[in-house]
């Protein structure tokens, strides 16, 4: 059936031939996967054969909106940016904020697919139904912020700019795509995919409509839900201090990682926390259609950034034994400008610091030294000197130099800043996530640590926690809605989807779609050859007792970890090897 709120149109841009074509949105896919995350993975599964080179012309880059995108449903302005990952070889779906998502919808598309590769560095401009290819000229080689500024000065603020920095141009596994200067599609080397297509920037302007039935009544109801649920006290922290709110909670909870995942609290947390941030904050910002506004625009010294988020703060602070909000801001501005993932960069540098500390190899960075850290990050972007050794992350570096036990990644994607020995389920979560170690799939710490009576240091029952939270995020990010609207539930999602699409979506169906999205992600990877054997976490979690905090002394056991995988595979209906049986694959 034709659904409203969708544009029912996919734009395919063939970079090799510099041609474009549109096709109707596959409505069967839309009904089964809704949009954004789920829809992107299903299209990737359909379009791309297994075994293709993620940096080759056969890897497509998908910008995918959801039906909620381009409506005043709060927190609906995120955009899925997906491709096969050069860093992990799995599927990779990133989520970028800013205004590109809503503008793609207003331009008339549900999804834009970039196929092939440009013959020389270029930028592509999409203005409604007009698509033009341009020589990147001197833009190629510029940092991301410099390039965005030049393009906005020329084209105007009605355009959103998606750009890469030198890290993406150099095809680094640690490379991101920026928009609005300070929003990223961050992880898994997504910037390198754009770089391999020799696309420096994508500009999007959209002036058309998004249509929904009974728009006045629908908008009235959206605003009601907005005020009652989204703007409720549960989410107040978002406007107040943004993700800084996680700092004290994670420190109290004993999952704030420090010294390359050796310890899990930092006595100095209150020297770079939300209260300190507020002294330097100049303004607040949100994404298109945001109802909350998590962005903190800060200036410390001459360093400016909209950020840093919790992940960036922890990855550049306690992980590297540095206590300085100025450093966190400086680091954030630098990695954004160079087009690098702030999580992977911090964790990789922390690993390099430990390598020097242990006398295995000195990359030129040491715990506590801010200047060395900032210097090597630039060298990583440009693949210079010792920076070249680290540009592709800890998996590649540790396979060459040793120190694999404490190279904190899963499948080649570096760990986010939640310590698994303080929240055992997170280890399984990182291991089974569809794109390598990611906390935005199944954030089990929500139940294991931030809940009054769930024991964190056990493996029993964690498979179910993993599944429930994974299912929730899978449908949420397919609608799509931003993670920070924490109090949303299936009833609200189903009601909103029904109102805007004109199709009856039920609460139960939300869970069904969520489960299906988890399955299609796994199916993509399975087809690439991934099995249970790849669902691994570093030995540090099993060998090194955690230092400090409520989880002091905790280690995990291999049996416990494998048991969590067993529980999860059984719940998913996968075999003992973590693979989907054919009957299940056929339902996707």
């Amino acid at each position: 059936m034709i659904m409203s709120a969708y544009q029912n149109k996919v734009l395919r841009i063939d970079c090799t031939k510099q041609e474009t074509r549109t096709e109707p949105l596959n409505m069967e896919f839309a009904e089964k996967y809704v949009g954004s995350k789920g829809l992107a993975i299903r299209y990737m599964y359909e379009d791309m054969k297994p075994g293709i080179d993620p940096l080759g012309p056969e890897n497509n880059l998908y910008l995918t909106t959801g039906p909620m995108t381009g409506t005043p449903i709060p927190c609906s302005g995120k955009l899925s940016v997906a491709a096969k990952s050069p860093a992990t070889g799995t599927m990779n779906d990133c989520s970028i904020g800013g205004h590109a998502g809503i503008r793609i919808k207003f331009a008339g598309y549900d999804m834009i697919v970039f196929e092939g590769q440009m013959d020389k560095p270029s930028y592509i401009v999409i203005e409604d139904d007009k698509i033009t290819f341009h020589d990147a000229g001197e833009l190629w080689g510029m940092t991301s912020h410099a390039a965005e500024k030049k393009l906005i000065d020329e084209y105007g603020t009605e355009y959103s700019v998606l750009s890469i920095g030198p890290a993406g141009e150099n095809l680094n596994f640690i490379s991101c795509i920026n928009s609005d200067y300070y929003r990223q599609a961050g992880r898994g080397g997504i910037g390198a995919v754009m770089g391999s297509k020799k696309i420096k920037a994508i500009l999007i302007k959209g002036t058309g409509p998004v249509n929904v039935p009974n728009i006045k009544e629908t908008t009235d109801r959206i605003l009601e839900i907005f005020h009652e649920n989204c703007l409720s006290e549960d989410n107040e922290y978002v406007f107040d201090e943004g993700t800084y709110a996680f700092l004290e909670a994670c420190n109290d909870g004993g999952i704030l990682p420090a010294h390359n995942f050796t310890a899990a609290t930092d006595v100095n947390w209150d020297k770079y926390n939300g209260a300190v941030m507020k002294k330097y904050r100049l303004g607040k910002r949100g994404c298109g259609s945001c109802g909350l506004g998590c962005g903190n625009f800060m200036k410390v010294g001459d360093a400016i950034v909209e950020g840093p988020e919790y992940e960036t703060t922890a990855a550049s602070g306690p992980q590297c034994d540095i206590v300085s909000i100025e450093h966190n801001v400086r680091y954030n501005q630098l990695v954004d400008d160079l087009g690098m993932d702030s999580i992977s960069t911090g964790v990789t540098v922390a690993w390099a610091m430990e390598m020097a500390e242990k006398g295995i190899h000195d990359f030129g960075v040491h715990f506590g030294n801010e200047e060395e850290m900032l210097k090597i990050i630039e060298d990583m972007a440009y693949r210079r000197g010792q920076g070249a050794e680290l540009a592709d992350g800890v998996k590649v570096a540790s396979e060459k130099w040793g120190g694999t036990d404490f190279a904190m990644h899963s499948k080649g994607l570096e760990f986010p800043q939640y310590e698994p020995r303080g929240s055992f389920g997170m280890a399984a979560s990182y291991a089974v996530s569809d794109r390598g170690a990611c906390h935005m799939r199944s954030y089990t710490a929500n139940e294991e640590v931030f809940e009054a009576s769930c024991p964190p240091y056990t493996h029993e029952g964690k498979g179910q926690v993993l599944y429930d939270l994974g299912e929730f995020n899978a449908i949420k990010f397919s609608c799509c809605l931003c993670d920070l609207w924490g109090s949303v539930d299936y009833a609200i999602m189903a009601e909103l989807l029904t109102l805007i699409t004109g199709r009856e979506w039920t609460e139960e169906e939300m869970g069904v779609v969520g489960r299906r999205v988890l399955n299609i992600g796994r199916a993509f990877n399975q087809r690439e050859g991934f099995t249970r054997a790849d669902d691994v976490v570093p030995q540090r979690l099993f060998k090194d007792p955690l230092k400090g905090g409520p989880a002091d002394g905790q280690v995990m056991t291999e049996e416990g970890f494998q048991d969590m995988l067993d529980q999860y595979f059984e719940i998913m209906g996968w075999d003992k090897n973590g693979c989907l049986p054919q009957e299940l694959l056929d339902t996707l």
Partner: protein, 131 residues
């Protein structure tokens, strides 16, 4: 009773553009912010956060500029007479806030939703108020 006007406090604005989306919903029958009677956005430029606040302040310059007397403010908001408006665009040129749109030979001007502005209802943190 004093005329109520839209007021904007930039410290509370997050640049979400829900104001334009909701305006276009009630006035244009679709979510099409390019056709809204309000256009507030924020953006980064030269290391600072800029606020571009295009909203009707009821200054009445459009009314004064109209050569056909098509615009009045009798009820406390701007009203364009479709019988008189020719879509000449002089009002749009004079508008200090750049919120008048000329389309299909007609001037589309904010009428504060006749004293009950919907943009204010959509603004997350009260950056937009009507007082």
């Amino acid at each position: 009773m004093a005329t109520k006007r839209l007021k904007f406090k930039k410290a509370l604005c997050i640049g979400c553009q829900l104001c334009s989306q909701v305006c276009s919903a009630y006035k244009e029958g679709a979510y099409v912010p390019s056709k809204a009677r309000i256009a507030i956005e924020t953006c980064y430029d030269d290391g600072s956060l800029k606020y571009i606040d295009n909203y009707c302040i009821l200054c009445g310059m459009c009314m004064k500029a109209c050569p056909f007397d098509a615009i009045d403010m009798d009820k406390g908001w701007l009203h364009v007479d479709p019988e008189k408006c020719k879509g000449c665009g002089l009002c749009a040129k004079k508008c200090p806030k750049h919120v008048i749109q000329i389309r299909d030979n007609f001037a589309f001007i904010c009428d504060t939703c006749e004293g009950d502005p919907n943009c204010v209802k959509a603004c997350p943190h009260g950056a937009l108020t009507f007082e």
